[in-house]
Symmetry: C2
Subunit: 426 residues, 2 copies
């Protein structure tokens, strides 16, 4: 183990030369490896293919006799609501089933608040300023929604147990322009951490100055465990009810990474007050989402146990990939004082921090050797990582052999950039 900062200039030079040789050897292979997005791999999609072979005759009628081929049923089939209510630990009447994308549900929820306002408050677009709190590193697509609608983003640090709640509490209590906060509370994107019970309780007990403040609780990875001892997340809606804040949270989830990213079922959950308020404009927006696909999912998974068993198959495919990434990172970077990273129990990412001001250079170098990473900075609002240090590793998509090469190249790039940086400073 070498602690880079203790090395002499000559030792550093030698190290850099050795790394450059390894780097160039990979570069010569003209690789094309993609780790940009949290996409399931082909094997993960294979295991659900038989859902698409459920015969038409079994998809025609829902349990209550509704013709699923025809119009209607704005907020989802009762059995689909029941399935997702179980998954999200809420009541079926606290559920709205959407189309195939929870991102679209989140976008719609923000868009609706912009144009129509939330439960009688002035529409956000007519308020002087609207701000969202963005615990970071976080999910770039959340931030993109804010940016599109001109919502000012306030970065708050992520800790090992969730967002920095001291700051969150102060911000929402003091500023009426703060209307929301983005959360990925379980196996967070990208850190892979799960909010502690205390953090959830502090969320539920928030006393926002704005009546139309909402927590956007994107529970994207609620059943996406990689370990037999999965993280437990306290139920935010229940906690909000206890704290007298039942209208403060919108929960989102989908089967995008359970069944199919391209043809799954998305869902949102909230208090019955919020749900009925949303349905008033939802009924103008659509007559109803795809009920056949809802029924397909219900027939296939049946209940939460069915989903849980299915997710074990996903874990069986993903865990070796995550393990391998962690092994290589440890082997290449361990003890060198140049990078730190999380070891998540679930989700889709490994978040790595380099030395300050190295992330962009690492991503650039990796790109030049044929390894596409999520854009450095993407995990922060406006794509600007203040310390230029966070990189999101998405190990799910590439086949194991490609992933191995990609991570090795990535680790070489980190060492190379770090050694040069230390050399400059020395």
């Amino acid at each position: 183990m070498i602690y880079y900062e203790t090395l002499s200039k000559d030792e550093l030079k030698n190290e850099i030369e050795a790394l450059e040789n390894r780097y160039n050897a990979f570069k010569g292979q003209k690789l094309k490896l993609d780790m940009t997005r949290g996409k399931p791999c082909s094997d993960q999609l294979d295991i659900c293919m038989d859902m698409l072979d459920i015969p038409a005759k079994d998809l025609r009628r829902s349990a209550d006799g509704t013709d699923c081929l025809n119009y209607g049923v704005l907020d989802g089939l009762p059995e689909a609501k029941a399935l997702f209510a179980e998954m999200l630990e809420v009541d079926a009447n606290e559920i709205i089933i959407g189309g195939n994308s929870s991102l679209n549900l989140m976008y719609d929820t923000v868009a609706r608040a912009m144009s129509l306002g939330i439960t009688g408050e002035i529409p956000w677009s007519k308020q002087e300023k609207v701000k969202f709190i963005c615990p970071s590193p976080g999910y770039d697509r959340h931030f993109a929604i804010c940016e599109l609608f001109g919502i000012e983003m306030i970065t708050v640090d992520m800790r090992q147990d969730g967002p920095d709640m001291d700051t969150v509490e102060k911000l929402v209590a003091g500023d009426e322009a703060i209307k929301g906060i983005w959360c990925v509370p379980k196996y967070s994107n990208p850190d892979g951490i799960t909010y502690s019970d205390e953090v959830v309780d502090r969320f539920a007990a928030l006393r926002p100055k704005a009546k139309d403040f909402r927590i956007f609780w994107d529970n994207a990875y609620c059943v996406h465990h990689l370990s037999d001892k999965p993280d437990m997340l306290k139920n935010i809606l229940t906690a909000c009810k206890k704290a007298g804040n039942e209208n403060m949270v919108y929960m989102f989830a989908s089967t995008s990474k359970i069944s199919f990213p391209g043809a799954g079922v998305a869902v949102m959950a909230s208090s019955t007050g919020n749900i009925s308020s949303i349905k008033k404009s939802l009924t103008i927006q659509t007559i109803g989402h795809d009920k056949i696909n809802q029924l397909r999912h219900v027939k296939y998974f049946r209940n939460l146990e069915g989903i849980t068993l299915h997710m074990k198959k996903h874990a069986g495919i993903l865990k070796p990939k995550f393990d391998m990434v962690l092994e290589i990172l440890e082997e290449e970077l361990g003890g060198k004082g140049i990078a730190s990273w999380n070891k998540p129990n679930g989700g889709y990412f490994i978040s790595l921090n380099t030395l300050d001001n190295c992330a962009k250079e690492v991503a650039k170098l990796a790109q030049e050797a044929g390894v596409a990473l999520t854009k450095a900075g993407a995990t922060y609002p406006y794509g600007k990582d203040p310390l230029d240090k966070n990189i999101r590793i998405a190990p799910t998509m590439p086949p194991v052999e490609e992933l191995k090469k990609a991570i090795e190249i990535f680790a070489i790039c980190i060492q190379l950039v770090s050694a040069k940086k230390i050399m400059e400073i020395a």
Copy 2:
């Protein structure tokens, strides 16, 4: 044939008595007949059921090798674009494929203009006033979108060849607040008329004062013929291009009434300039719509000819219903000078006009005898038919025997209300 207004008071009394007897006989049957919405009937859905039995293995990959189960392909599979481009007579690069609802695409298009504006203009929500022209009678769900977003609706009369274009031209040229017009140009809802070539050309040649004025061209019934000699609709996008107005129109359509209302594929078409502008925010809204369902539709229909053949089966089911309605209307109401109605070559509705100030009363009376009609007034902005005379008949959903009863009751109600009205005046 009796012309009601020529009858003496005594003759009218006798007529009313006879009608009341017939009405009460039906009322005694405690019927429950629904003609409220333009929903396909069960038989129409049956003929497409086998689409849902296409094996999973045939749905995995698009022609270009894309894994349709995974994320991506924002604007639709190339083969789906090609199919709908053929149907809408546009280029494939003028197409965006949506989810299962063209209503949702229209809603999104208005919502986007409200929040984000159209190609660089000030968002509608930040403009002092936004108005839409609503040719009426028209489609209540179009009007509902305007009402939700606080868009002021200006009623313009429908003629036998389309909207009153003299008025439309004057309005859009003179008022910058007018941002849109709703059109169902083929087999219009509810009149069943198709815009003439001249009307389409006048649309294309509009010189709106507002740069962000758009024609919302809801071609919902483009292939929904009931006759072997279908109406022909001139292509608005081509006409707009010729008139130097290529960005002025958004076209919408779906397979809701081709395949499945609950699980079809929606589509919009516009100039490549508009399409690329829409995609800039669409990419924030979703990663992509359901590609499996797109592929299912492409494999099933293959091309426009496939759709056309399929639509002949629909016509085979619907034409007898339309014929029967028209026959009963003629038999009961013909020559009495109390109602007029259209004989459409396609679409989903028969539009009927009573004497002034009779429609609500007719609907109420029908309701009391167990026949639910589309709410009287619904075909006008704000649900207010200025002359209270238009009623939309939706004959597709009920089985023939039920439809027969429903229309007979309906026709009795018209006669009864008209006779009483004439009696009052006399």
